[in-house]
Point group: none
Chain length 154, copies 2
DNA sequence: ATACATTGTGGGTAGTTGTGGGTAATAATC
DNA sequence: GATTATTACCCACAACTACCCACAATGTAT
């Protein structure tokens, strides 16, 4: 089955082990192109979660960042904040990646972890925090969602 | 018979088996173009039912979502809510797809399932819930239907 | 009306996937 | 340099999923 490559959808409930490892769902691993060499870049998300990019996709982001002039203070600050917590990880023979303690703290991860496909990247959430985020957005966004939904035909 | 491809109409009453599989009506399978590789994307409907898209149609949606920048909180939230429950499934040699327990719960499916063609997608309903939805809409919509009917030539 | 093909339903089996933990190699600390 | 902590690699089990075969009911053609 040749679907879109390096593309992720769906939600999975997995667990962090004592060593801070999480499984990458088999469906996601199988969708990875070979040039990624079983590797992802993990970094802080803009929400309180961990973002996981295929290295190939991440390289494109790096290229964009490279174009931003360091003369601007805003640019420097933006580049720093996106790159600062990023590291490359390769999954082991069981399909797991090791998260850094820094990122685990940031996303407030306990034993449970929700893994969510976000098209071009993956998010790792503390289920409780995601619920809270869902609630918060539900009230605000329903009308704005309608507007977006009008642009994209479901 | 060469009707419109990837297009679905009609209602079928099928059953879920113990493993959570449903048959896709033969008429729907035969209408699928080959580039779908016998596969659909299943996800939450906006009503309490399951939406089933031919992968080709879904890929167009994904491409739209990919264009939305993750810098906007609204966009992140929108992408997450659309993609979160979506997964690709391929039907087996008997023409069945396996539903996820998540979606079965959401649509409150028991043994009976109503499968309804919705032109560019398919809906899977709990018959009881569909009756209820029918009742609820009957009262409200008849006048609004008239308005829509003026835009679309039947 | 009969024979044949197709379609829907059920279940068994083998392979895959998630999870836990053990051991060796590397790095950090005193 | 010795000891401890951390990281990477390997193996093992249990749960789940995908694949296969079988049968019954329905529809179609001769």
């Amino acid at each position: 089955m040749t679907l879109n490559q390096n593309t992720f959808t769906g939600e999975f409930s997995y667990s962090l082990d004592a060593k801070g490892r999480v499984n990458i769902p088999a469906k996601f691993r199988n969708g990875l192109t070979d040039d990624n060499e079983q590797s992802f870049v993990i970094t802080r998300g803009m929400d309180p979660c961990i973002w996981v990019y295929p290295v190939i996709i991440w390289q494109a982001i790096e290229d964009e960042l490279r174009k931003l002039s360091s003369l601007s203070r805003l640019n420097r600050s933006f580049v720093r904040s996106t790159v600062r917590y990023a590291s490359t990880v390769q999954y082991d023979k069981q399909g797991r990646i090791a998260l850094t303690s820094n990122l685990i703290d940031y996303a407030e991860l306990g034993k449970e972890a929700l893994i969510i496909g976000m098209v071009n990247k993956i998010e790792i959430w503390n289920p409780t925090l995601l619920d809270a985020a869902d609630q918060a957005s539900k009230e605000i966004e329903s009308s704005e969602f309608d507007e977006l939904a009008n642009q994209i035909i479901l």
